[in-house]
């Protein structure tokens, strides 16, 4: 296992003389440390990074280093602890099949419980010794002579690995949106993914900007606490009823005593979500039925015709993330809540100015505006063979082979890479396929003592051509604007198919698709 006590001695090889980089500055200072590399270097200790470590350990690979920028594990679920935060896929499916939890308290667990499950994974699989906390990776470079990846942190520490896994997560960075006048607002600002637990909302006038997956979870909780809540909506989403129930004690006992029963429940949930693909991924008669269910849900919960109109989406269901909630619509109709659909003109010293000319004065603005999703870059410079830089190659939209490898970046595996996102099923189901595929690749590197396992460029090109052709027929590409697409409408995010298809794609590791050195 390598540590930060890397020798400053200059190592030979191309890594030292790179010409291209995203910043231009780092290129000449990059050096490969002369330290013994770990077998696998993992960036990120969220669901993906920890899952990767578990699967590697189970395959007998224990020479692992996990670099985590924070001082605790959990990733998205550590960061998203806003009131009401919960998953919108049933917990029995939004968990790893290789680490079942019979004790989920509800069908859709809250973020605290999910974070608890992640901590449980760390304890159960004894992952703590592998994790290096407060290691914020700023650069990841490949030395092709040695066949080694080196991660450099913001403090200049270096860690090396024969294989590297980018598990930093697609939804891990957030920032306040670039709304005009945001710096003028003198009240309190909170981002949903960086919740301020110290702030007391009691009696406060609050604005919530954003009505996506986070917004609709936060709003009902804020309406319970705050004096008044104004909800600023740009585009209404489709909201489906949420079949959320407390798990009875007998059920937990059953799952504990008879794990097969929990597996059967998982299968049932899996297949019911698979069937939803027909409604949300492609336009089919089921799409209309799903829209009708959502409309009925709206009609049942909202009696006022104008409010219903304001809340009715004008895009095909599935084009944007489908929302699930039972308490969002009722919360909007409480006496201390108001939905505002006027466009925001700017933020001012005291609040939000909307285009109908009114300044809505508030004590606090909650930004439920989502994450900085990169469709065309990487969170830190990733440098592969011949000085190539991934962010530059991805400028027109990210592309990979089977979402996990990129040609020119040998021995590098990505979780939630390009075109791996589900719209209808559990992200962790997709994740498991990725982890197992990476294990196969890494096993190959270690077993055959390879310097490079690099996917062939033409194989990758063919794969992407097919993916994009299939994407063109999906609801995501049906004309709405969403975070799934780049500004130019390129879909580098979603996988156009069933989870079962994705699993089949990932089940086969074909050696002939790769160049090996």
């Amino acid at each position: 296992m390598t540590t930060s006590s890397a020798s400053p001695k200059k190592a030979p090889g191309k890594a030292a003389t790179r010409k291209r980089s995203t910043t231009g500055k780092r290129a000449t200072v990059k050096k490969t440390p002369a330290v013994k590399p770990a077998a696998v270097l993992i960036v990120g200790a969220g669901f993906a990074g920890l899952g990767m470590a578990i699967r590697l350990k189970q395959a007998g690979i224990k020479d692992i280093v996990i670099l985590e920028r924070a001082s605790a594990v959990g990733g998205t679920w550590r960061d998203n602890q806003y009131p009401g935060a919960a998953c919108d896929i049933p917990s029995n499916l939004y968990s790893y099949s290789f680490a079942p939890n019979p004790n989920w308290s509800r069908s859709f667990s809250g973020s605290e419980e999910i974070l608890g499950y992640i901590h449980h994974l760390v304890a159960e699989f004894e992952l703590e010794p592998y994790i290096r906390f407060e290691k914020n990776v700023e650069d990841l470079s490949f030395d092709e002579k040695k066949g080694i990846w080196t991660a450099t942190t913001d403090k200049g520490e270096q860690f090396a690995g024969r294989a590297a896994v980018m598990a930093q997560g697609p939804l891990s960075n957030c920032s306040f949106p670039a709304i005009t006048g945001i710096e003028d607002f003198t009240g309190h600002k909170i981002h949903s993914a960086r919740w301020d637990h110290e702030y007391d909302f009691t009696g406060k006038k609050v604005a919530v900007i954003g009505t996506g997956a986070s917004g609709i979870q936060i709003i009902p909780e804020l309406v319970k606490q705050a004096g008044h809540v104004k909800v600023f909506q740009r585009t209404p989403g489709w909201v489906m009823p949420r079949p959320d129930f407390a798990t009875p004690a007998w059920n937990k006992k059953l799952f504990e005593k008879l794990p097969a029963s929990q597996q059967a429940m998982r299968n049932l949930l899996y297949w019911s979500h698979e069937s939803m693909a027909l409604a949300v991924i492609w336009k089919s008669p089921l799409t209309r039925i799903a829209e009708r269910v959502a409309r009925l849900h709206l009609r049942r919960q909202v009696k006022d015709r104008w409010l219903r109109r304001q809340l009715t989406p004008d895009f095909t269901i599935g084009c944007k993330r489908v929302l699930v909630s039972n308490d969002y619509y009722p919360a909007l109709q409480k006496d201390n809540a108001k939905l505002i659909t006027w466009p925001i003109a700017r933020l001012s010293e005291k609040g939000v100015r909307t285009v109908e000319g009114i300044e809505h004065q508030v004590d606090c603005i909650v930004f439920a505006t989502g994450f900085d999703v990169s469709h065309s870059g990487t969170p830190f410079p990733v440098k592969g063979r011949d000085g190539r830089v991934l962010g530059e190659e991805w400028q027109g939209g990210a592309q990979a082979y089977k979402s996990i490898n990129v040609s020119g970046y040998p021995n590098l595996f990505m979780t939630f890479g390009p075109n791996s996102g589900p719209g209808h099923n559990s992200a962790l189901v997709y994740m498991e396929s990725q982890l197992d595929y990476a294990v196969k690749g890494i096993e190959k590197i270690l077993k055959d003592d390879l310097k490079m396992l690099d996917v062939k460029e033409d194989v990758q090109r063919r794969h992407n051509k097919a993916i994009q052709k299939r994407l063109a027929r999906t609801n995501w590409n049906s004309g709405c604007k969403s975070w799934y697409l780049t500004e130019d409408g390129f879909n580098a995010t979603m996988y156009p198919g069933f989870a079962t298809q994705y699993a089949a794609q990932m089940a086969e590791f074909e050696e002939r698709d790769y160049e090996t050195v």
């Binding site: 104008w306 409010l307 609040g351 100015r353 109908e356 000319g357 009114i358 004065q361």
Partner: protein, 280 residues
């Protein structure tokens, strides 16, 4: 008329917004309203405000129908901007002591019908009908009503507000005619619309609005019978020329006056969004 670049227009719209608080509603000048003017102005402003508000609702319907995302966004802004005009006009009324308490002026029965009609049917109207009627309303407002108002009223705050309102309206018109061109309207048609609009009085505009369902149905009937719709609009213009139009509108107004208020459904909630207060 040269088509405008709608993307540039959207950027311009977004970057040139104003708010009620940009105007000092308590600045001197309110006393320039004469006693003789006051009651007429009160009625005029109430109607004007409601027309803006009704226009706002029509833009909301157009946003739902817009063929492109840019146009959808533009109409969403226009919807809010028309609402801003109504709010600003209400703030003027407040300034001139024309509001009883803090209440929104009660819409008259014709307006109630128009509001009810818009609420129920405008979302189902073909976009080219709205796309024709709305620019006509806008020209009428811009060209006739606002000019009249500014010539008559000396209050500088009124001028300040309407300078801003007119800037918005001219953009609304630019987009309106551009869209009519996009929809394949000929120069003659657009020209006729421009010419016809200033001749309209507010009552007729309301009449047109309350006529639209009828007109709509009639248009469908006529088209089914094989008459191109341009001919229908030409027929409307001719109708105007022979000066006969006041009769049906007046008749309509009289007739609707007999409808008991309680027979009407409750005012839709979008009407309650109006406010004269710059901050909320």
């Amino acid at each position: 008329m040269a088509s405008i670049d709608l993307d540039k227009m959207l950027t311009k719209i977004k970057s040139t917004q104003w708010a009620l608080s940009d105007i000092d509603w308590d600045a001197p000048g309110a006393e320039l309203i004469t006693e003789e003017q006051w009651p007429k102005l009160k009625d005029f402003m109430a109607d004007l405000m409601w027309i803006e508000h009704v226009g706002a609702r029509a833009f909301a319907a157009m946003a739902k129908k817009a063929p492109t995302d840019t146009l959808r966004q533009i109409y969403t802004y226009f919807h809010a901007e028309e609402q801003r005009h109504a709010n600003a006009e209400m703030a003027l009324m407040k300034r001139w002591g024309m509001l009883e308490g803090d209440e929104i002026p009660e819409p008259n029965i014709n307006l109630r019908l128009v509001i009810e009609w818009l609420d129920r049917y405008s979302d189902d109207m073909p976009v080219y009908v709205l796309g024709t009627v709305v620019p006509m309303l806008e020209i009428a407002l811009d060209g006739a009503l606002c000019t009249f108002l500014l010539e008559t009223v000396k209050d500088p705050v009124c001028h300040q507000a309407f300078e801003k309102i007119n800037d918005d309206e001219s953009r609304h018109l630019g987009v309106g005619f551009s869209v009519m061109e996009m929809q394949g309207r000929g120069k003659t048609f657009i020209g006729a619309t421009k010419m016809l609009a200033p001749l309209l009085d507010p009552r007729l505009m309301l009449g047109i609005a309350s006529y639209v369902p009828l007109l709509n149905k009639m248009r469908d009937n006529i088209i089914t019978m094989g008459l191109p719709e341009e001919r229908l609009y030409a027929a409307m213009a001719k109708f105007e020329k022979i000066g006969g139009y006041h009769v049906p509108v007046d008749g309509m107004v009289k007739l609707t006056g007999l409808i008991p208020r309680r027979a009407l459904p409750a005012v839709p909630s979008w009407v309650r969004e109006l406010t004269y207060q710059p901050t909320a």
